[in-house]
Structures are given as structure tokens and as C-alpha cells.
């Protein structure tokens, strides 16, 4: 029983982190139809910005709890600066072109951002460990967990619910859904589609940076952060269905629990199991678990 509980907790820990990372990716695809390879770069930028902001907050002798606000602020700052430059300054010139071209553009952006982060922050690692100890430890039998991990559960649920509520229960959200359904019709009804794109892309960048910022206390922030994240989050959104928030949640849960089970029971299969889950889902649901089958427009 203890073993099962441990497996579940570990799975949920991993899933909550994965969900926050993947949410922005699926949102951007849902609205802009962009498979954003640079998503991992925005995650890394969030981590670096959090390192700077938390360091700055510590230098101001603020309460350690304010480091959480500093991390949130870091994610907002990244989205406010990077999203308009990227979307208005680069991506919009490729709208309507082949989706593969957009993948290549975001891949190029990913490579550029890797060097940009190095130019700004250098190659040395940054540590933001103070927030990691804020929530103390939680003991389960012989195991001790860091409370921060459970705080991430809360953040994941809050981010998911906020995104769902904003899309489905607000006027702006309905406009976004209209653009998702048909940008042409939405435009003819007076919707400024380009503005919706900018806002949606900004939200995606914010979520990526938020994930990076709140992951920073657990890791060493240094070059190369972005690579593995983007691969994993692609697996999650493909399992769930590209563009689906519910799908990203279920995909993250499936991957998190499968990985946890593998590490506990068959460690050699850890890497394999994530992609086995993805392949298994795609065999039966090629469009992912939650993506609605769309009529082909003629």
C-alpha cells in the first residue's frame, strides 16, 4: 500500500510539473496552429528570469515568501517582453504558410534563444533554492517529501482551471474560441484576429515561463534547460490532443504515472514507457485523446 501511495505521489508530482509546462504549448497550438519548438526556450527564460528576480528580492531583504511573488513577476516580465517581439516581429509574417515552415521558424528561434540566454546570463549556473524550503517537508512513513512539490500541484490546478475558465466562461475566451473555430468568420464579425493571436501567444509564453520560474528552485539553471522539456511536453500534448487543455491534463497524468511506475518497478523502461504510452494512444486515437475530429474545409 505504501508502495502504491509513493508511486501515486511521485507520478502526481511529475504530472503537475509536466502539465504546467505543456499547458502553454497546447494553448498556442490551439489558437495559432503553431507547433512551437521555442516553447522550451521560453521555459528556460522563465527559469533564468526567476533566478534574477529572486536574487534581486533577496538583495532587497524581502521576506522569503516574497520570492514566490518574484517568480510570478519573472514569468509576467518574460511574457510582456518576449511574446510581442516574437509574435509581432517574427511569427505573424508566416501565418497562413505551411505549418512545417512555422515549425522550422520556431526551431530557428529556439537555437537563437539558446545563445541569447547565454549572452544575457552567461554559461555559469544559477541557483534559486530559497523557495524550495518554504513549505517544509511532509513525511509519509519512511519517505520525506518537500512541501514545495505539493505546492506545484496547487499551481498546476490553478493554472489549468484559470485557462479553462478564461476560455469557456469569459467574453474574451469566447472570442478566442471563435478564432480557433474559424479565423476568417471571426474576422468578418469584427474580431481583431491578430490581437487574439498576440494575446494567446503571450499567454502561452507566460505559462512556459511560469513553469520555468517555479521549476528553478529545484534545479541548476544553466544552458541546455530547454531541450528535454520541449520533447516531453510534445509527448504530453500529442497524447492529450493538440490544442486541448483537458487533454494536456490527462496526458500529463498518464505520462507522470507511467514514468513513476516504470522508475519504481522497471527502471530500465523509464524512457521507453513515456513514448510507449504515446504510441499506444495514437494507435487508437490518432488525433489524441481529446481533440475533436474536424471537418475538412473545402
Amino acid at each position: 500500500m505504501d508502495g502504491l501511495l509513493t508511486l501515486l505521489i511521485d507520478g502526481l508530482n511529475y504530472a503537475s510539473w509536466l502539465f504546467i509546462v505543456s499547458l502553454g504549448l497546447t494553448l498556442v497550438f490551439g489558437v495559432l496552429k503553431i507547433l512551437n519548438i521555442a516553447h522550451g526556450s521560453f521555459y528556460a527564460l522563465g527559469a533564468y528570469a526567476a533566478a534574477s528576480f529572486v536574487g534581486w528580492a533577496a538583495g532587497m531583504q524581502w521576506s522569503p515568501w516574497m520570492s514566490l511573488a518574484a517568480m510570478l513577476l519573472a514569468a509576467v516580465a518574460v511574457a510582456a517582453v518576449v511574446a510581442p517581439i516574437t509574435e509581432r516581429g517574427l511569427l505573424r509574417f508566416f501565418y497562413g504558410r505551411d505549418e512545417v515552415l512555422l515549425v522550422l521558424v520556431t526551431y530557428a528561434l529556439f537555437l537563437v534563444m539558446e545563445d541569447v540566454t547565454k549572452l544575457i546570463w552567461g554559461a555559469n549556473p544559477y541557483f534559486v533554492t530559497e523557495p524550495y524550503g518554504l513549505f517544509g517537508n511532509v513525511d509519509f512513513g519512511v519517505l520525506s517529501y518537500v512541501g514545495y512539490d505539493f505546492a506545484l500541484w496547487g499551481l498546476a490546478v490553478a493554472a489549468g482551471l484559470a485557462a479553462w475558465w478564461a476560455l469557456n466562461r469569459t467574453r474574451q475566451g469566447k472570442i478566442v474560441l471563435a478564432v480557433i473555430h474559424s479565423p476568417e468568420v471571426a474576422s468578418s464579425m469584427g474580431v481583431r484576429v491578430s490581437r487574439v493571436y498576440t494575446i494567446a501567444f503571450g499567454a502561452g509564453v507566460f505559462l512556459a515561463a511560469l513553469a520555468g520560474a517555479f521549476t528553478a528552485p529545484m534545479i541548476s539553471v544553466q544552458p541546455g534547460l530547454s531541450v528535454s522539456v520541449v520533447v516531453l511536453s510534445f509527448a504530453v500534448v500529442i497524447i492529450g490532443g493538440l490544442g486541448s487543455i483537458e487533454g494536456a491534463a490527462i496526458g500529463a497524468l498518464l505520462v507522470g504515472l507511467a514514468r513513476s511506475a516504470a522508475v519504481h518497478l522497471a527502471p530500465a523502461a523509464e524512457l521507453f514507457v513515456i513514448y510507449a504510452v504515446m504510441a499506444g494512444v495514437l494507435v487508437f486515437r490518432p488525433e489524441g485523446l481529446f481533440q475533436r475530429i474536424q471537418a475538412r474545409k473545402i
Binding site: K118, A123, Y145, V146, E270
Partner: protein, 442 residues
């Protein structure tokens, strides 16, 4: 008119001679120019996850050393300007991007950049890929850092050398250290990255521990992917079934993340952590590195380096160039490669009448040679003189609050012959046979 004609002829002849002389001078000048420099391609990770820990420090080490050579500022026997009077010109290439890209980059270094030698490669996969290409092109290559023993165990090369011990040394030394300190090791857990380096390291360590602790059992054998960053589940597994000893060969950001995540959960209070290559994370982790961790540095490097004038000089020039930083494993390994290359070039030039040597002459000079490095004596003793062996050291960590740094204490040195397999046998067979021929072990 006659005079003029003959004058004209004379002028024409003179002009022809002048052109011929100028052309000859131009060619001679070209030859002199070609003689003036020795061009080295230096390959290390300048981006990606290995950049911070290994690639950039290696390049930093190369830059400071090349500069010292070119200024004739190195101590004897490395005091000649450049390489035997030839000015050294270095070209730096990023190792990131995978083995296929590295093969292309290596060809470009030889064919387009016209380098005389390539020194580099940290990743074992990259070493395995580029070594046969250099051999096929008949061009000179020094592998300075990668760990896999398979390069010279599975292949035979004329133009390829590795000027540092392979990874077997690191893990055999760890096992010997535990035995020498009578450490409790009835059970062992392993956590290593799921690629060649991690697989080789855990196999060597488990096999070596099997020799010293025949009753020891391996419990958890975890293989997180390279760059995983999140180790919560692995830590739960290690905590739920703790072993006397937990071995890891994680490095760089992965090792730092493991330490950051496992420390607060109390893992290091329940097990003796041993790290095969851990010195490079000490300056950045500082007090986040727990006391009592047993670790190696892939050689007698940094705080574990033997006292010598050469080591003092090396630490001094590195610290002056990089804000007081101490060189660690990666720049040490770059230094021993460049020092060996310098002596080989100069020896080959003497044999070649003072002219720049060919790759064959260079290979002949380095094959089976020996030289002093800041980390101790390097001997090209294995693989027909193409694979180095060197002394190493293992130590225990303690955070010194006054000095605000992790100090290494209880340092134990292992002579090269004690922790490296002798010529003619593979690392795996040597360990399984109980280290036959191991000499001078402490």
C-alpha cells in the same frame, strides 16, 4: 637605337628576373608563413548542458595555455615559444549537435581550416564517431576527455590518441577507496544516466565492488535519461530501499539537480553517496553539497592535485585569467593534452630538421611518450602507446564555512598502475579477473 634596343632587352630581362625573384620570394614567403603557425582545432561543448561544467572550462584552459605558450611563458620543459617556435593558432568548435555533426565539423577542420591537429571531445559518443574519421583521413587527433574504454579496446588507430585515462580508473579508484576505509557496503544502489558514460560507469563500479565486497548486492539500478532534471521519483525509490552505498556518475546540471532535490529529503543521511566525477560541481553548489560525500575528479585534479611547480604555475595563470577560479577536471585534461602535444610537435620537428612535422611524424613522436602535467605524470602506456594512464585521487567533502567553500579531505592517491588495466586486456576482463597486474596500490 641599338643601345636602346639592348637596353630594352636588358630591362626586359631585368624585369623578368625581378618577377621571377619576386615570385620565388612570394613562394618562399608563403612557406615561411606556413611555417610560422601550428593550427589546432579545439572541440568542446560551447552550448548545451555540458558547456558550463566541461566545455567552456576546457576552452578557457586551452586559451590561457596557448597564450602562455605563444609568449614563451610556460616553465621548462614547455618554455619554447609556441610549438618549437611555430606560433600556435587555435580554432574553437562547438561539440554540441550530435555525432553526425561532429564528423562533418572534423572534416571541415582538416579540409577547410587546414588545422595541423585536432584536440578535444568530451562526449563518448562523439569520440567513437570521430576517431575512425581522423584515421581514414590520416590526420592527427587527440581525444582529451571522453571516458568510454571502448575506443581503443574495440579499435586500432595510428593517428588517434587519448591523453587521459578512460573511465574505468574513476570507478575502480572509488571502490578501492571504500575498501581502504573499511566502509560498510553490503548493499549498493546505482543511479546513472542512460547512455554510454552512465552504463560503463555503473558496470565498472558494480564489478569492482564485487571484487572487494563479494557479499554486496546491487539493489536499485536507476537509469534516468540524460538531462532529466527531475529526480523526485528516483529519490523516492532510493529512500524507500536505501543501500549502504549509492553510486552515481551523474555530472553537471543533472548532478546539481540531484543534490538539490535529494538533500532536503534526507537521502544523504541514509546512504553513503559516492560520485565518480564530482569536483566540477563543488564551486557552484557550495554549502548545498553535503559533507562526507566521497568523490573523484577523473584524475588528481584541483584540490587533489599533487604539489608541483607546474601545478602551481597552471593554477596561477588560470586564476589570473578567470577571476581567481581554480581549474578543475576539464581544464586539467585540456592542459595535459596540449602539453603532450607541444612536446610531441617539438620532438617531431627535431626529427624533421626543424620543419613542421607531418601527421605521421607527429603520431610517432606522441606514441608511447610520457610527460609531466599539472595533475601528475601522463604515460601513453596502453593501446600500443595511444591511450594514456595517469594517477588519480579520491576524497571526501566538507563545507568550510570560514573559507566559504567545499574542501576535500581524507584524500587518497592511487598510482596509475593500480587503477588502470595493463596493456593487452580490456577493462571489463581486468576487473572480473580481480585486477591482475595492479601495482603500488595504497
Amino acid at each position: 637605337m641599338q643601345f636602346q634596343r639592348s637596353a630594352s632587352r636588358g630591362t626586359f630581362r631585368s624585369a623578368l628576373c625581378a618577377v621571377a625573384a619576386s615570385t620565388a620570394l612570394l613562394f618562399a614567403g608563403g612557406e615561411v608563413h606556413a611555417q610560422e603557425t601550428f593550427k589546432i582545432g579545439i572541440v568542446a561543448f560551447l552550448s548545451g548542458q555540458a558547456a558550463e561544467s566541461f566545455g567552456i572550462p576546457a576552452v578557457n584552459g586551452a586559451k590561457v595555455l596557448v597564450d602562455a605558450f605563444n609568449r614563451s611563458a610556460a616553465p621548462a620543459p614547455y618554455g619554447q615559444k609556441g610549438f618549437g617556435g611555430l606560433k600556435i593558432e587555435a580554432v574553437y568548435v562547438d561539440e554540441a549537435g550530435g555525432a553526425t555533426k561532429q564528423v562533418q565539423e572534423l572534416r571541415a577542420l582538416y579540409d577547410r581550416e587546414k588545422v595541423d591537429a585536432v584536440v578535444g571531445y568530451i562526449g563518448s559518443g562523439d569520440c567513437l564517431a570521430v576517431a575512425p574519421v581522423a584515421e581514414e583521413l590520416k590526420r592527427f587527433l587527440i581525444l582529451h576527455d571522453c571516458g568510454t574504454p571502448r575506443i581503443f579496446e574495440d579499435g586500432k588507430f595510428s593517428y588517434v590518441f587519448r591523453t587521459a585515462s578512460h573511465a574505468t580508473m574513476d570507478n575502480v579508484a572509488l571502490a578501492r577507496y571504500l575498501k581502504a576505509h573499511n566502509a560498510k557496503a553490503r548493499s549498493i544502489n546505482l543511479i546513472n544516466q542512460d547512455y554510454a558514460w552512465g552504463h560503463d560507469a555503473k558496470a565498472d563500479f558494480a564489478a569492482a565492488m564485487g571484487q572487494f565486497y563479494p557479499d554486496a548486492t546491487v539493489g536499485q539500478d536507476l537509469l534516468p535519461k540524460f538531462g532529466a532534471g527531475q529526480y523526485g521519483t528516483e529519490i523516492s525509490v532510493l529512500l524507500s530501499k536505501p543501500a549502504d552505498v549509492t553510486h552515481t556518475s551523474l555530472w553537471g546540471g543533472d548532478l546539481q539537480a540531484l543534490m538539490l532535490q535529494a538533500g532536503p529529503r534526507g537521502l544523504f543521511k541514509r546512504t553513503q553517496l559516492v560520485i565518480s566525477a564530482g569536483d566540477h560541481v563543488l564551486p557552484v553548489l557550495g554549502q548545498r553539497m553535503p559533507d562526507g560525500v566521497i568523490l573523484g575528479a577523473r584524475g588528481a585534479y584541483g584540490q587533489m592535485a599533487p604539489k608541483s611547480a607546474l601545478n602551481d604555475w597552471w593554477n596561477d595563470i588560470y586564476a589570473k585569467a578567470y577571476n581567481g577560479q581554480q581549474p578543475l577536471h576539464s581544464p586539467y585534461r585540456m592542459a595535459q593534452a596540449l602539453l603532450g602535444l607541444k612536446l610531441a610537435v617539438e620532438k617531431a620537428m627535431v626529427a624533421n630538421g626543424g620543419k613542421k612535422p607531418t601527421p605521421e611524424q607527429l603520431a610517432a613522436a606522441l606514441r608511447g611518450s610520457e610527460w609531466d602535467s599539472p595533475g601528475g605524470r601522463i604515460r601513453m602506456a596502453l593501446a600500443d602507446g595511444h591511450q594514456a594512464i595517469q594517477d588519480t585521487a579520491i576524497a571526501r567533502t566538507r563545507y568550510d564555512a570560514a573559507a566559504k567553500k567545499v574542501v576535500l579531505e581524507d584524500i587518497m592517491r592511487f598510482p596509475a598502475e593500480c587503477v588502470n588495466p595493463p596493456a593487452g586486456t580490456t577493462a571489463e576482463a581486468w576487473i572480473k579477473a580481480g585486477f591482475p597486474g595492479a601495482k603500488n596500490c595504497p
